[in-house]
């Protein structure tokens, strides 16, 4: 049986389990894009593993006809790390949400990214806890009224892109649940990337936080900057762009050569391999003051934890020879007791 020669379709990545998300949940669209993309990428089911934590998004592995592990709240990056270190030939994807990945599992997220563990992490950000029935999350805006905050939340939200960049992630991207094309393009590059991938997916929870991203998604032309490597940051059909002013602040300008307008050459040019400072600048472009950048925000090549760890084992074997247990027992201070007494 050589399954590799058979081109798999989206259907091959679907399981026989009933999908149990609420009607209208953004997760359905994400699932469809991932299933179709894996088919297009030509990966095999057996070498693909989806690992998730706890939350609505974390049910994802049950619906992927690959290997999958639905683990515990926040810990998916840790569990995925152990798998990837020992089985580097596998494609290991991590599915998490804003509560799972940035609250209870914030520590694991930080360390998986800084180690550049070769994991592909998708964070579904709907700014709410869904499975526990609607409490505000670490990405909820200040003042969010939710089950646990009837008079509004009083803590400042975290910016997932900033966190990932700050942790040293080597592939950081953003998309939305409804942008199948943009998401698929990111997935293709993410799959090829060697190292930790962090994709923030702006996702809608129709039950507990309906429409939280509508202003961005419904008005894509004016509220999204589609990132193209080497091209200036523009939106609104190219009529508006982003420029840095003298105070090193980003500002929205009209694009053109006329009076009061800024020529294309005056705009910030997107570089996927740009400096971390630039990446952080993009991360700060958020609604409602700015259109939000979509696509690959930052990319760089760095050694991965898993390849270095394996290299150390190979090096030890090359230098010391494969382990000999008998010799290992004799390491340290050993002496022999003969029938007539003690020998050394």
């Amino acid at each position: 049986m050589s399954e590799k020669l058979v081109k798999l379709s989206k259907k091959d990545f679907e399981t026989d389990q009933d999908v149990r998300w609420c009607p209208g949940c953004g997760d359905y669209a994400i699932l469809a894009v991932v299933q179709r993309s894996l088919a297009n990428l030509g990966v095999t089911r057996e070498k693909t593993v989806f690992i998730s934590g706890i939350g609505c998004s974390s049910r994802f592995p049950y619906y992927m006809n690959t290997y999958g592990f639905h683990t515990i709240h926040g810990r998916a990056p840790a569990i995925a790390s152990g798998l990837k270190m020992t089985r580097p030939e596998l494609d290991v994807w991590v599915i998490t949400g804003d509560g799972d990945g940035l609250s209870i599992g914030g520590n694991h997220m930080l360390h998986a990214l800084r180690r550049n563990m070769d994991l592909k992490i998708m964070l579904f950000n709907n700014q709410i806890y869904g499975l526990t029935k609607g409490q505000y999350s670490p990405t909820s805006a200040l003042g969010t009224r939710a089950a646990s905050t009837p008079t509004g939340s009083v803590d400042h939200p975290i910016n997932p892109i900033s966190l990932a960049l700050g942790a040293g992630a080597t592939f950081v991207a953003r998309t939305t649940d409804t942008d199948a094309k943009g998401f698929a393009a990111i997935l293709e590059k993410a799959h090829k990337h060697k190292g930790a991938v962090f994709i923030e997916i702006l996702q809608n929870c129709p039950v507990f936080n309906d429409g939280v991203w509508d202003k961005v998604k419904d008005n894509a032309a004016n509220m999204q900057i589609i990132l193209v490597d080497g091209q200036p940051l523009t939106f609104a059909g190219g009529s508006k762009g982003i420029r840095m002013n003298a105070n090193m602040e980003p500002e929205i300008v009209d694009v053109g050569d006329g009076p009061g307008q800024t020529p294309l050459s005056g705009l910030v040019v997107h570089r996927e391999h740009g400096s971390p400072v630039y990446g952080h600048l993009l991360a700060q472009l958020v609604q409602p003051d700015f259109p939000m950048p979509m696509g690959i925000i930052h990319r760089e090549e760095k050694t991965t934890y898993n390849e270095l760890a394996i290299a150390q084992i190979e090096e030890a074997r090359a230098k010391q020879g494969p382990g000999n247990l008998q010799k290992l027992m004799l390491a340290g201070m050993v002496w022999e007791v003969g029938t007539e007494g003690v020998k050394h």
């Binding site: 089911r45 022999e336 003690v342």
Partner: protein, 624 residues
């Protein structure tokens, strides 16, 4: 010069935590082992790395028991106390036997140091040490003199003084100093100037013993009668690490170890990090939860996975253990117990995590628990834990404790050829594959791993269908699976060998113990039996399921005495399981049992001096 032959000696070195007492003690232990003595060691040090010099709480000690006959413990009370400063003398003198030998570094008995130790007058000359054989030696000054002309700073020279003490005791016990010199050279290979200085001072100490007329007698402890074979000196954590490497080899799988720094478990990680050429992969995770999470991820991928910690870290790992139990993945979780609760006594020993190991998870979540009994036994317990984990597809907890983890003993090298292999087989056949179909004997599910075509499956913490492994909220299925998981663990009892006992199957007192107290209880039982007492010692290795051999004898004795370094955790389990009115012998001082404490308790019980049940718990306790 007279030479006096002794059967055994207990010597304790005490000084500041920066004085190198652990090194002095362990080097002297090696020389005793090398000379053929049976040895047992007890390092006892503060949690602070370099506590303020001269303070009472900064005293670090190392006790060594060496003998020409078989011994199981580091000794109840030192015959010889080497005190490097007043604080060490102050905190340890009460343990020295009457008429014991006291070697004092008089150079450290300055007014300031005496004051820090709370001495109003200098004990060296105020008569308070009259009942001991006191030898005062100005080790500080003699060390400086020995290093005159070297380029070391005063501070660096001072650091060598522990080697003067080592040289002195080498002479006292007739050890060959030439055996030590290569060890010092090797120890300081990276800083040869310190190695040279230490050798100089070591020799000076030895020659001081030889020439100064302070010591009238040299002592000789003849070699013990060991069974012929190869031996090495080993600590529990070293043995445990070796056991994991060998266990992985016996399973035919790579070893994956994930840990997070914690006393007293860290040295297992340190040891394994050096075994990369055996294919062992170690991972220092970001926290305890990540460590067990990574281990579980590796287990899902087919590695033999291990994590190790101590009580507080084990608490953090609890949820992931539950996931391992639910998904039925094999894993070994090592708990090197220390004093608790919370941070407790990080460098001291205790057996108070038994409830945590057996009961400490949410839901109905039994899990096999095995306890090692001695430093060398950590090797075999590690292999056994791994074998059970992969055979029964279940996480297994391996209990050690600070006492056996850091303590050392001569260890007969195992015959690796004789160890039974337990090669892991992963299913590859997709025909009629049901993830939770169980082996009829062990009830283990199969262990298919990612990368295998046709066996793609999803697992997780939600209850699973008893056959397919798909999510199931069916009430009857949940109950069935709960019973199956418990029954699977119960069947591990079939793997327990004969109960480790000394004595008859009936009598006056059944002394039950577990874990690292084995040595004290066995030694106590030997002496009680020699005095004609009808006492049997039963040592439990499997804590869950409860060692089955216990059931057969527990009702055959007039009294059941359960000795533990906790408030009575095993006693409660035994009372609940067997409805016997067991008495507890309990101690929670961060210290192991003394043999005398055990013999006294047994004599009390035999003499009818049995504590009455206290109203609150109906538990009867003797406090050691």
């Amino acid at each position: 010069m007279a030479t006096k032959e002794l059967e055994h000696v207990v010597i304790r070195f005490v000084g500041d935590s920066g004085d190198g007492m652990q090194l002095t003690g362990s080097e002297f232990a090696k020389s005793a082992a090398e000379a053929g003595n049976d040895i047992s060691t007890f390092p006892d040090f503060p949690a602070e790395i370099r506590a303020p010099a001269g303070s009472l709480f900064g005293v670090s000690g190392f006790q060594l028991h060496f003998s020409s006959s078989e011994i199981h413990t580091p000794g109840d009370a030192p015959d010889v106390l080497v005190a490097m400063n007043p604080a060490g003398l102050k905190t340890n003198l009460k343990d020295l036997v009457d008429n014991g030998t006291l070697i004092i570094n008089s150079g450290a008995f300055s007014e300031a140091n005496l004051k820090k130790a709370g001495y109003a007058s200098n004990p060296i000359d105020d008569g308070s040490l009259a009942k001991y054989k006191v030898h005062t030696v100005d080790i500080s000054q003699l060390t400086m003199t020995a290093l005159e002309g070297t380029e070391l700073s005063v501070k660096e020279k001072t650091r060598s003084k522990n080697f003067f003490a080592l040289g002195l005791v080498f002479w006292m016990y007739g050890r060959d100093p030439e055996t030590e010199i290569p060890r010092i050279t090797a120890q300081f290979a990276k800083k040869p100037q310190f190695g040279d200085a230490n050798i100089k001072v070591f020799k000076a100490g030895y020659h001081f013993g030889e020439t100064a007329e302070v010591f009238q007698t040299q002592y000789k402890v003849p070699p013990a009668n060991f069974a012929p074979g190869m031996y090495r000196n080993i600590t529990g954590n070293e043995a445990l690490a070796l056991g994991l490497v060998v266990g992985a080899e016996l399973a035919g799988k790579p070893l994956y170890f994930a840990g997070y720094p914690i006393t007293p478990a860290s040295s297992i990680l340190h040891a394994l990090a050096k075994y990369k050429n055996f294919g062992a992969m170690t991972f220092q995770a970001e926290d305890e939860i990540a460590a067990i999470g990574a281990a579980l991820g590796a287990a899902y991928g087919g590695a033999v996975a291990v994590t190790a910690s101590s009580g507080p870290g084990i608490a953090l790992k609890t949820e992931a253990m539950g996931l391992g139990i639910m998904t039925e993945l094999p894993m070994v979780i090592v708990n090197v117990q220390r004093g608790g609760p919370s941070t407790g006594l990080p460098t001291k020993t205790e057996q108070s995590d038994l409830y945590q190991a057996v009961y400490g998870r949410n839901g109905e979540s039994p899990m096999p628990v095995i306890a090692a009994k001695s430093p060398g036994d950590c090797f075999y317990a590690a292999i056994e834990a791994m074998r059970i984990a992969v055979t029964y597809m279940v996480p297994v907890m391996l209990l050690s404790d600070g006492y056996i983890a850091n303590g050392s003993e001569p260890w007969a090298l195992p015959n690796l050829e004789a160890l039974k292999r337990f090669d892991v087989k992963h299913r590859t056949d997709p025909t009629d594959f049901k993830l939770y179909r169980r082996d009829p004997v062990t009830l283990a599910r199969e262990w298919p791993i990612p990368g295998t075509p046709g066996l793609e499956h999803r697992i997780g913490g939600i209850e699973k269908d008893a056959l397919t492994g798909n999510i199931s909220y069916d009430p009857a299925n949940h109950e069935k699976q709960t019973h199956l998981r418990a029954e699977k663990v119960a069947r591990v009892a079939n793997e327990a060998g004969a109960l480790d006992t000394l004595g008859e199957d009936s009598g006056d007192v059944l002394l039950i113990g577990w874990g690292g107290t084995f040595g004290s209880l066995r030694q106590a039982t030997m002496s009680l039996r020699a005095a004609g007492r009808k006492v049997t010692h039963a040592h439990m290795r499997w804590m869950w399921p409860l060692e089955p051999g216990i059931a057969k004898i527990i009702k055959n004795f007039k009294h059941v005495l359960v000795a533990e370094l906790n408030g009575g955790q095993l006693r409660t389990m035994l009372r609940a399981t067997y409805l016997v009115d067991a008495i507890g012998l309990n101690k929670v001082q961060g210290l192991p049992f003394k043999v005398l404490e055990v013999t006294t308790a047994v004599e009390n019980v035999l003499g009818g001096n049995v504590p009455r049940a206290d109203g609150a718990t109906a538990a009867r306790t003797i406090n050691a």
